[in-house]
Symmetry: C2
Subunit: 344 residues, 2 copies
């Protein structure tokens, strides 16, 4: 007799209370106890009250695994982001959580580290949890990931970018347009020899690069010598290094578009150390509008991206899909805002 189930509240080897314990305590079937939790409106007020009391007294905590197994609905949403150290994606995550929290969904976070192979592993692992839906970052995934996801028949929404594929759902903004816009801003300000430094070289960065190139080509000012692209992870230290490389390659640059704010901060710090006046000798702009951008000296011109809202709206859309609703749009463009500041 391993546990004293006749008296769970005082048994020695007190195993965790189950629904059956709750039901027995009240003198109802487990069905009724189950309903009192899941669909309380179907249970008489009296019983519901007693069941609630029993739950509290026994310290009953539902077993998610059992529920998932029986109901074939996990109430799990998997979110795949490329980085946790980049504030952009923790903001996205915050939006996802806020959209989904109240509904009792559990968010499974996967950090792909910008690697398709990692993403593949994570999808496979997360599929073991039978997620009701998956949130992906970006539009590009490996073929196997697409296969696994479609084989699983799970609704999926892509974040941060916009897809033209009528079979896909996406919430984000045009990375190309944003890159184009900030480059145009530099041109309008009168800069003519505009460089570009970029790291990581993920899909979104490359689209910003395209926007940059297109704007300069339109103006007849594109010069590939002014580009420094490396695939290393983006950091302040790397920004400092890359602006140095750029100035070595093309010392006549009068402005630099950094593919994100971290790089821009590094570039600014480096210029300050070298006595290069910003923006007088060199204008510098970033991308994302992280909190420091408004406060740096000089304050940093950048593109403000709606990442919290991306997470929120993507999760909202996913919830609709999970519930079988037909969403109004498959593609939600949340736009971006140019923040013109002192650094340009």
């Amino acid at each position: 007799m391993p546990n004293d189930s006749s008296n769970p509240s005082r048994g020695r080897v007190r195993r965790r209370a189950t629904l059956a314990d709750v039901a027995k305590a009240v003198g109802v079937s487990t069905m009724t106890a189950s309903r009192a939790i899941g669909r309380p409106e179907l249970v008489s007020e009296e019983l519901r009250g007693q069941i609630e009391i029993a739950i509290r007294e026994l310290g009953y905590v539902p077993n998610r695994a059992a529920r998932a197994l029986a109901s074939a609905r996990s109430h799990v949403i998997a979110v795949l982001i490329p980085s946790l150290s980049n504030a952009v994606f923790t903001d996205v995550l915050a939006g996802v959580q806020d959209a989904v929290d109240a509904e009792g969904y559990q968010v499974l976070i996967g950090n792909t580290r910008y690697s398709f192979a990692e993403e593949e592993k994570l999808v496979n692992i997360h599929l073991q949890s039978n997620p009701d839906g998956v949130l992906l970052t970006g539009l590009t995934q490996s073929e196997r990931v697409r296969q696994m996801l479609s084989a699983a028949g799970i609704p999926t929404v892509s974040m941060m970018d916009l897809s033209d594929d009528p079979d896909r759902y996406s919430v984000g903004m045009s990375q190309f347009d944003a890159g184009h816009t900030i480059t145009r801003h530099l041109l309008v300000k009168g800069y003519r020899r505009i460089g570009f430094i970029a790291a990581q070289l993920d899909e979104r960065t490359l689209k910003r690069a395209d926007g940059y190139r297109h704007a300069l080509q339109q103006a007849g000012l594109y010069d590939s010598r002014r580009e420094v692209l490396v695939s290393d992870p983006s950091t302040i230290a790397l920004g400092a290094e890359l602006v140095g490389r750029l100035m070595a390659r093309a010392p006549d640059c009068d402005a630099v578009f950094c593919c994100n704010d971290d790089l821009a901060y590094g570039a600014i710090f480096q210029c300050q150390r070298r006595g290069i006046a910003i923006p007088q000798q060199l204008a510098i702009c970033g991308f994302n509008d992280l909190p420091a951008s408004a406060w740096m000296n000089p304050s940093v011109t950048t593109i403000s991206t709606p990442r919290y809202r991306v997470g929120f709206e993507a999760a909202t859309l996913l919830k609709q899909l999970i519930c079988g609703e037909q969403p109004e749009q498959r593609r939600i463009d949340l736009g971006f805002t140019l923040m013109a500041r002192e650094s340009t």
Copy 2:
């Protein structure tokens, strides 16, 4: 006949393959198929090979819920951190992931937002997943949280601070000592009217404050007018504001210890805007050594904290506890490092 289970690979309504499907395809019992996955050394090489092939062909993905239910082990580790937007805790998380990834544990992340009430909710929710272990941030939890955790009988490790309680496991560093050390550094440098600004006022911040006070009292230089403490979340903007408030209250301050780097950055940016020379007119130091600290102009004196290692070692310790091993120490002190830079 809803699904063509006799031919799962070509059935119309193709439901997800189960272990039974794999077993049937090979002509073995589900037991053997199960073993081929979980303890392959117990299965003959031949069968193992066939089973592996069947798994691949059927696209079999194990059902975590079923496994958890049957085995009473979830392979889930819950991690509670107070913030996702603070790089300190994403670093901790990275350490946890790296320590635990290979073992097939799934990490459930809970963001308490520095709220005991939220923490309570999260513990309750995560307990539904039957975690094998829980990682907590800090030493202070609500009474209910402690109750729930001990009732569940789940091993727990506290991160970021050190506990004297012989019943608890903790991995971190002495927040008091670190606060004391950096204040001593200011004293040794010759500063005499040292202010303190702090936000959030969580447990760790308050211990740093105690370290600051103690150092100044020892030197006979403590003056409560020089403290500005607010419970708002810590941001660069708040640092800018608080240094302003401090200078209004105690204009003769010659140094400021900011309870973290974000606040220090804001203070520095603010001083720069007001034409206050750092460190000549006012020395400023922070806490944590975030990446920008080494690059700012002036570079920022701060305390480097071993947060990645905290996550890694805490998770490693937790794994031991989960496996029933007796760890060598209940309390792992990872220390900290003073980074003396230009701002002081």
